[in-house]
């Protein structure tokens, strides 16, 4: 088991390097230019723009920029030590190559994600700053969708072809089909503006002191959690219904019934237990699904999370932030998949991890 985990983690390294290369090539070769977007202002001259571009290293070929991003070492032709030396960057001139090499102590190999072009913050700080908000929303949405979706699915299977089953099915289709930006706005209008029961957005009631208030936080969490969970509820209820119906037709269930096991125990111990196994495999991807779904929900509900940050960084062509988020999400996805494989083995003893 430990060896399995270690092996999987080692396998992740080339995967991540591959991701870093592919993501970098795509991001840096996509149309648009971070400097032009930041300086789309007639009062800013071309010379100022070129200076800025050179200072940020964006005037270099993307391959050199990739090396710099991975290793933290920037190569420039000519003797330019003076121009690029900083308190955190040491430069040396390599005479026989006529190249100046600057080491800024960063690079993803050393676990540094670089500095955001837009906000001048370390990218890692930006991620750490936003992660709690997204996690809070994502975890509660995942919990709500499981806590509502799974029981709904089991009940639909138990009462197959009943009115209940049909209505759950209709709700699942509707829930999946409704665009979340529309549903979000409608819920804001109903519960926030018309009824005035719930806040219309944000993580907290904003005040000059911004004191922590658990009830206030919970109230702000309700609407976005629900909107983000609706897709999951629909998915899990359909998924559980199918799985239960499949399990219920197996011999061991027939056997249990024949033995006279109480119907309730048949459904919730024998059937549900086995039907949950495939659910485990969906959890890893579900974590990623929740994170990506958060972009829209975070925008509608002014939720200061990762999704919104990544999206606006992409719009601003803030390359280091976009790439940092990609790397972060990649690690998360790999971990999620590993976790669901491990859980698989835990739930189903027949599965051996080796």
């Amino acid at each position: 088991m430990t060896r399995y985990v270690i092996r999987r983690l080692l396998q992740a390294i080339p995967t991540l390097l591959g991701v870093s290369f592919i993501a970098f090539v795509f991001v840096y070769n996509s149309p648009g230019d971070p400097i032009l977007i930041r300086t789309f202002d007639p009062n800013i001259t071309q010379e100022s723009r070129e200076i800025l571009r050179r200072q940020l290293g964006l005037d270099q070929h993307w391959a050199l920029q990739y090396i710099s991003w991975v290793t933290g070492i920037t190569l420039r032709s000519g003797q330019v030590v003076q121009e690029f030396e900083r308190s955190d960057t040491s430069c040396t001139f390599i005479a026989w190559l006529n190249t100046t090499s600057c080491n800024n102590g960063g690079g993803i190999l050393r676990g540094r994600l670089g500095t955001s072009i837009a906000t001048n913050q370390p990218v890692w700080d930006r991620i750490v700053e936003r992660m709690p908000a997204t996690l809070q929303l994502g975890v509660s949405a995942l919990l709500v969708s499981l806590l509502i979706g799974v029981p709904l699915g089991v009940l639909s299977a138990v009462r197959q072809r009943s009115i209940f089953d049909a209505s759950v099915r209709v709700l699942a289709v509707v829930g999946n089909a409704l665009p979340s930006f529309w549903m979000g706005l409608m819920l804001i209008l109903l519960f926030g503006v018309v009824l005035g029961w719930l806040p219309t957005g944000g993580m907290r009631t904003v005040s000059l002191t911004n004191e922590f208030d658990l009830v206030d936080r919970a109230r702000h969490l309700i609407l976005p959690t629900f909107v983000l969970a609706v897709g999951g509820i629909a998915l899990f209820s359909r998924f559980m219904r199918t799985e239960i119906l499949e399990v219920i037709r197996t011999d061991y269930i027939r056997m249990a019934r024949a033995k006279g096991v109480a119907a309730r125990n048949v459904w919730f111990i024998h059937a549900l237990g086995n039907a949950l196994i495939p659910l485990m495999t969906t959890l890893g991807p579900a974590i990623f699904g929740v994170l990506s779904g958060a972009i829209i929900v975070e925008t509608i509900f002014s939720w200061p999370g990762m999704g919104r940050m990544t999206f606006s960084a992409a719009v601003q062509r803030d390359y280091p932030t976009v790439l940092g988020a990609v790397m972060f999400f990649s690690v998360l996805t790999i971990m999620g998949n590993l976790l669901s494989d491990i859980l698989y083995g835990v739930v189903d003893p027949r599965v051996r991890l080796s």
Binding site: T119, N120, L208, N210, V215
Partner: protein, 587 residues
Amino acid sequence: MTRKKFSLLAALLAAALVLAACPQPTPVVETVKETVVVTQVVTQTEEVVVTPTPVPPVQGGVWVEGSSADATILNPILASDSASFDVLGWFFPSLLGQDPFSGAIVPTEMAESWDVSEDGLVWTFHLQDGVMWSDGEQVTADDFKFTYDAIGSDLVETPRKANLDNIESIEVLDPLTIQVTYGEVKCDALNNLGLGWLPSHLYAADYSDVMDSPLNETPTVSAGPFIFNEWIRDDNSTVLRNDNYWKGAPHMDGWIYKIVPDPGARLAQLQTGELDLIGVQPEQLTTIQLDSNLSLHKFKDDGYSYIGLNQANPENPQAGQDEEGNLIEQDPHPILSDLAVRQAIAHALDYDAIISRVYLGQGYQIASNVLPAVEWAHDPSLQPYAFDTEKAAQILDDAGWTDSDGDGVRECNGCATAAAGAALTIRLQTNAGNTTREDLGALVQDQLNGIGFDIQFEAIEFGTLVGELLGQTFDMVIIGWTGLGTDPNDDSFWHSKFDTPGSGFNFVSYQNARIDELLEQAVSVPGCATEDRAPFYHEIQQIIHDDIPYVFVTGSVGNTGYSKKFNGINPGPWSFYHNIETWSLAQ
């Protein structure tokens, strides 16, 4: 057997309901909402009648502005986005003030007066005495010099380097006197001196910490009406009253900048009182007007929307000037370099319909490049192009653009610029996500195709559009200018030296030696008196109007919706908050 399941569901539902029904905490914004219900304006007017001494203003209250985007960095020389300036504007003193109604430069900030040498090159500014940073240090000329020297430093990565153009020296004559010497007369040069000043005593003298000073995130020292309190990125920024503000401490406790990215959510929060001020989209106007707790501030914004017509061949973008400053002859655009085609486009658009349907009435037709807001330079006698499809069609017929094969699209049959038989097919682009421009694009396509054009319209992502635009690889583009300011000098749009593919803003490759000359003369008039500069701008407007490098669609109208919870709000088109220190709770 399913009862347990139901009870689980019921418990969940109950939990949700309990949460929903929890007694509401008393956030600042909601208490405020109650006070708004009592419209005390009446009481106040009565009191004014009865007693000549006004009631002392009510202290306290918070103003919450809603914004779609968050600030990026709170340093006045590193920031380049308007959201950052919305927040950092409270802290950093600047040399020059601006009249909130006329936009004219006025001595209401650090410079209380200034003298100009006879040749117009040496400007001496006399500073306000006794303005203090909130840590007790005095604001002096050294702060100004430090800030502008920092911009010029190699260690500082800022897009503001151009603010130093043409400045030969900045000297501190004494702590309250600054002398700025220019290389040549530039009538709009003062605009470059408006940046906020850094507190130089908190920075290293060699500018080495300007880029990564913690002050860029938490500018704790202020010389403005408010002092920085907290910044939670992408959520909110809060600032507190500066009790020692030199123009008088504000009555309100503080001001909050709250990030609400979705426009519908912003409107909802304005209605519930969670926000006090938002920029209003045209389709939201009715909601604001019908809400008795809200006011609307409508103003002519210093911007316009236009359709840019590329005069040069997008397959061969060239610079407008060589290194000696001589004009480079452009490879002309096969269709749009034909003045007749541009005239036909200008006449074929139904501007009234566009303004009423696309801009929902929030616009006004303009004839050329100087907006009526810049009254002294604007030429009111110039008439915008009239909507006249017959005339447009006639112009095209006369110019040799006719539909010879009957497919509804005109071809070049003896036209001046394109190959014989070439169809009148032009690409039209704008940025996706801006619904107004997307609607305008569809309407323009429809109206131009109606007289025999074949317009291929596409909305592309903004960053990509900027690349096509500055790369000069487009045909026609719908876009706009905002923040043009109070000086009519817009040489960066028309002067051939700004026709530099990849970076210049004369991306339509407009080339007119007379315009180059006029633009240069208009900013170097000795003395810079407006009446001496105006004739140049009148001629410029006439030529731009006749040459049609842009089809001017509409001047921008801005709308701000705000709550009535404070008295004393007196918004001007150039500033909403200019007198914020005098606002007091309406109570």
